[in-house]
């Protein structure tokens, strides 16, 4: 279901002109970091995007024509009208913090923990920002493009049990 024209119009009147694009009828909007929480609250409370489908991240390192390192992606849905909207925030090192969406959608809890685990994006105000997939003692962020596919040897950093000692 494509976005109704009122959604983007409402955002533009409230927050000024935002860069938008469309892919196969699905609208996407790019938001600045300091506007993010306000935009998301407006989308949730006034435009009734009541479902946070996913939070994910893209690492644009070595990507052609990319101006920013990370693109944080929020996928929203309105379960009454089936309208969908993609919200993006671009982030660059060294400041990889964004406000948490936990207070807006409770479902952001584990989604943001996964993005933190894989990309190292810090969600300020998150109640429990721990690793969710990797072991706690893991130190790297494995889905960053500068992390080697086979890791840095963490997968073999375990004691060896032999017949005589087990």
């Amino acid at each position: 279901m494509p976005a109704s024209p009122t959604t983007l119009a409402t955002l533009t009147t409230r927050f000024g002109p935002l860069p938008t694009s469309e892919f196969r009828g699905q609208p996407r909007v790019v938001v600045a970091r300091d506007q993010l929480l306000g935009v998301m609250r407006a989308l949730k409370d006034d435009l009734r995007f009541d479902l946070l489908v996913d939070v994910t991240c893209v690492d644009y390192l070595n990507y052609r024509d990319a101006a920013n390192r990370f693109g944080l992606v929020y996928l929203l849905a309105n379960t009454d009208t089936n309208e969908r909207l993609t919200v993006r925030v671009y982030l660059n090192e060294p400041n990889l913090t964004v406000p948490t969406m936990y207070d807006v959608w409770k479902g952001a809890d584990w989604l943001e923990r996964e993005v933190f685990d894989m990309f190292g994006i810090v969600f300020e105000g998150h109640p429990d920002l721990r690793r969710i997939l990797m072991p706690e003692e893991f130190t790297a962020f494995p889905l960053r493009k500068d992390y080697p596919l086979q890791g840095r040897g963490e997968r073999h950093n375990f004691p060896v049990l032999t017949r005589s000692e087990a």
Binding site: Q150, E154, H156, F158, P159, T162
Partner: protein, 185 residues
């Protein structure tokens, strides 16, 4: 002059008697983490009928088992669990590495997947396949029974000699995957 032995008495060696008892009463511990586990279940079910080889009693407690069947890939977070379960099993115990993933990591050559459980626990039998057919698993159990009968001793001396395998399971990456200095500490 030969000593008369009654008809209902059989003479054998104690080691062979113990091994004969052990090999025909293997109690598998299913460590099934992936699709190999489905073949493992099929092997235990009526069609392939592992009971014919005395190994049908799958127990989910390591305290009651003596054969660990690792069926599937093992990731970094699972390996300490695997080692703990292996340590909880009673001697004498054996291990079958079932399928490509458990034996070598298979197609999952990534940062989180252990490239073969034999780097960290002792393995007696490897089964190729992705996943192996139940017949292959049955064949490996028959081979393991053979091995137990051939090498088994009452005191478990055969396990002490296996410490020679330690150098094989070295804590180094293969050269193609990067330098040793990159191993995290």
């Amino acid at each position: 002059m030969a000593i008369e032995v009654p008809e209902n008495v059989v003479v054998t060696k104690l080691d062979e008697l113990a091994s004969w008892c052990r090999k025909n009463s293997l109690w598998p511990m299913p460590f099934a983490t992936a699709c190999c586990g489905i073949e493992l279940m099929a092997t235990g079910a009526s069609k392939h009928d592992l009971a014919r080889f005395g190994a049908e009693v799958f127990r989910f407690s390591p305290r009651q088992c003596d054969l660990m069947i690792v069926a599937g890939r093992v990731v970094m977070k699972m390996l300490p669990v695997l080692q703990r379960i292996w340590q909880q099993m009673h001697e004498p115990k054996w291990c079958i590495s079932m399928g490509a993933c458990a034996s070598t990591g298979g197609v999952f050559d990534t940062y989180s997947v252990v490239q073969g459980i034999d780097r960290f626990i002792p393995v007696d039998m490897y089964i190729p396949g992705c996943p192996p057919r139940p017949e292959q698993l049955i064949q490996s159990i028959i081979d393991l029974q053979d091995k137990i009968q051939r090498e088994g001793t009452v005191e478990g001396k055969e396990f002490e000699t296996a410490s020679r395998q330690q150098t094989k399971r070295a804590l180094v990456e293969l050269p193609m995957y990067g330098r040793k200095s990159l191993v995290a500490h």
